[in-house]
């Protein structure tokens, strides 16, 4: 296991399920993220907050997963929001033209106040 490998850990803050993600999200592991998100939705989670603060970088494979999961959430009357987009990661969302495609909050605290 190396230090850039994808890490995922979920926790709860009231009704919000927080999935903290670290490392890289790329074509090789994006399916693991989708499995995890689908698992949370299948388990009945209605509000999932993805905290990307520890993410080193992500590729368009990650965007694809986030778009698919957002659609899947809508079908389940649930929602997915993002927070913790730091410098490099935010720039990648900008480059992909995807900042407007998601509900994005600043810090985790901001997000929890608004969700």
């Amino acid at each position: 296991m190396n230090k850039t490998a994808l890490r995922m850990e979920d926790s709860h803050a009231g009704p919000v399920c927080i999935l903290s993600i670290g490392g890289r999200i790329d074509s090789g592991n994006a399916a693991d993220l989708l499995d995890r998100l689908n698992g949370l939705l299948a388990a009945g989670e209605k509000t999932i907050l993805l905290d990307l603060k520890e993410v080193l970088y992500l590729t368009s494979a990650a965007f694809r997963v986030l778009l698919v999961a957002t659609d899947e959430a809508e079908r389940n009357a649930a929602r997915v929001a993002l927070c913790g987009l730091a410098g490099q990661v935010r720039e990648l969302f900008e480059m992909g033209g995807l900042l407007e495609a998601f509900t994005i909050h600043g810090s985790r605290e901001d997000a929890l106040n608004r969700l």
Binding site: T4, S27, T59, T70, L92, M95, G96, A101
Partner: protein
Amino acid sequence: MSLPQTTHIVIRNDIADLAAVTSAMERVGAEYDMPKTPLFQLQVALDEMVSNVIKYAWPEGGAHDIEIRITARDEGVEVEIIDDGRMFDPRDAPKRDKPLPGERPQPGGVGVQMTRHLVDRIDYARIGSRNHTTLTKLCALGPTAASGEQT
């Protein structure tokens, strides 16, 4: 160590093999003290280009090799991707349309668009029956380059 130095790997057209490309790039980055930001940018671009080859180069399927040559130079790092799939010049890929208001963007084409932003140069040549796609990321290498950077 005097530059240029080339690391050469061959993978199969299987998305699971991308991990080997990522690790090879990580090793080169560490060995030549490539600063984190350009290293991560090149990792993203490389993932986009190689995953495109894996997904689209051989519509008829079958097992194929993809050759990757990572060269550390004084002025930066160059990655050449060689495949014998159908001709594809990433420089010709159409620009993405902006999604209509209220419409979610479609994922297609995002990778090439990001790659254009992430590297300093994309070169392409069709040599014989092979695509040679070269990504160049300019950056200073060496201990001073890596240590002077914010993480």
